[in-house]
Amino acid sequence: MGEAIVITSGKGGVGKTTTSANIGTALALMEKKVCLIDTDIGLRNLDVIMGLENRIIYDIVDVIQERCKLKQALIKDKRFDYLSLLPAAQTSDKSAVTTDGMKQIISELKQEYDYIIIDCPAGIEQGFQNAVAGADKAIVVTTPEKSSVRDADRIIGLLEKEDMESPRLIINRIRNHMMKNGDMLEIDEIIQVLSIDLIGIVIDDDEVIKASNKGEPVALQPNSKASIAYRNIARRILGETVPLQSLEDEKGVLYKVKKFFGMRA
């Protein structure tokens, strides 16, 4: 029986889809059976980042409206057998999916897969409700900006009302030099406000954008910082204890991260 994890943030553009693609890829690299679901109906992106756009024949709306079987809509990844994608529809809108339909699909997928990663649309309307409906766990993505943290806080409040475990946090797009100068919120400051467990930090890496444009998730690269960060997150999802990545060789931030980690552990 698999586990469904929704990746959400409230605010747009913080990296939900990139995070979904990379966590999915990283879990598949560790030989877990993973299914990615794109629930951003009308604005699908996950297929593009995964480089699977050309292979779409049926989508999630076709499954819900029973124009095809669930198996027919699933796209097998071109790199591993362990990874599949259920793409969103580009022509309908969010009202085409119902929470019951989502629950049905996810419970069916749980029989086959170890992890189901649900990419949530921005906002707190129907699309969000659909995405969280069938999820067992949630990961909230935020960036070190006030507006993004504010929206994450709102989303955590909404997730607490759902029947699921306390969500975990990814702080994405960390720019080391800005954090050092105090121009960005600090990691412990964000955690203090949101008061949920941190599952990973990802620095702002040019490689992520390059990789996304090529349709190759950055988690496939062996050495880039973001790639290691995503693979660490995947290992933490599997229950391993992995120390937080140091942001740079600077002592200041490293010290703070260590101090923070010591505090939590």
């Binding site: 806080d153 709102r154 955590i156 409040g157 008061s195």
Partner: protein, 228 residues
């Protein structure tokens, strides 16, 4: 027999007259006797207006009856009724007092977009995040960080106050007063409270220690017992 017993006793004090009304006789008798007594003892034209306190003892009067008594006493404008006091109140009223003076303890984080409303005092163990809001009809005590909005005395109690372990609120509201954070970036303050300063006619923030002399009666219930 009945006539001989004095149903209404008048006592004079420095502040005015106190009317003691017998608590067991019928209301009609009180009304009759009151007419007579008032006619007898009403001050003359050239004397100053006298204020009257009415003591009902254990008698319960409806609002309408109280108004009737007030009308009788004040009919020729030589008396004014300062208060009508009774040792009994209705059950619903008592329950309402109790509800408004209980402390509700809540332990959670009030996040952006969430509103926590309570009747009575609020003891929140946890933070109020930016964009979150707590509202209480009484005082608000926060063991945690107040970053959002707190509204104490929401149905008009200007004596209510807001105390927090750490205070950097978006807004503080007490009764109908609103104050907001300054536009410049300011540091928060630890262990402080917000209360209405009568002289400045606005909300001020001060150390928690000032509460001990500015708000000696913390409990809403005691406050009501004293002030009605």
């Amino acid at each position: 027999m009945l006539d001989k017993k004095q149903l209404i006793t008048i006592k004079g004090t420095r502040d005015g007259l106190t009317l003691f009304i017998d608590e067991v006789c019928s209301y009609d008798l009180v009304v009759n006797e009151l007419h007579a007594t008032i006619a007898e003892s009403s001050p003359k034209e050239n004397e100053p207006v006298v204020s009257v306190k009415v003591q009902l003892g254990n008698r319960f009067l409806t609002e309408q009856q109280k108004k009737e008594l007030t009308d009788i006493i004040t009919k020729d404008h030589r008396f004014i009724v300062e208060s009508i006091e009774s040792s009994v109140i209705r059950r619903e009223e008592a329950l309402r007092w109790k509800e408004h003076s209980d402390i509700q303890a809540v332990s959670r984080v009030i996040r952006s977009g969430q509103v926590l409303e309570v009747t009575g005092d609020l003891l929140l163990i946890g933070d109020v995040n930016p964009g979150g809001k707590v509202v209480a009809t009484g005082n608000i005590y926060i063991m945690g960080n107040l970053h959002g909005i707190a509204h104490a005395g929401s149905i008009g109690d200007r004596q209510a106050f807001i105390a927090a372990s750490f205070m950097k609120p978006n807004q503080l509201r007490i009764a109908d007063y609103i104050s907001r954070a300054p536009d410049y970036e300011a540091d928060g303050v630890y262990m402080e409270c917000g209360l209405v300063d009568e002289e400045q006619d606005k909300i001020v923030i001060d150390r928690l220690q000032v509460l001990s002399h500015k708000r000696q009666v913390l409990s809403g219930f005691e406050r009501r017992m004293q002030n009605g």
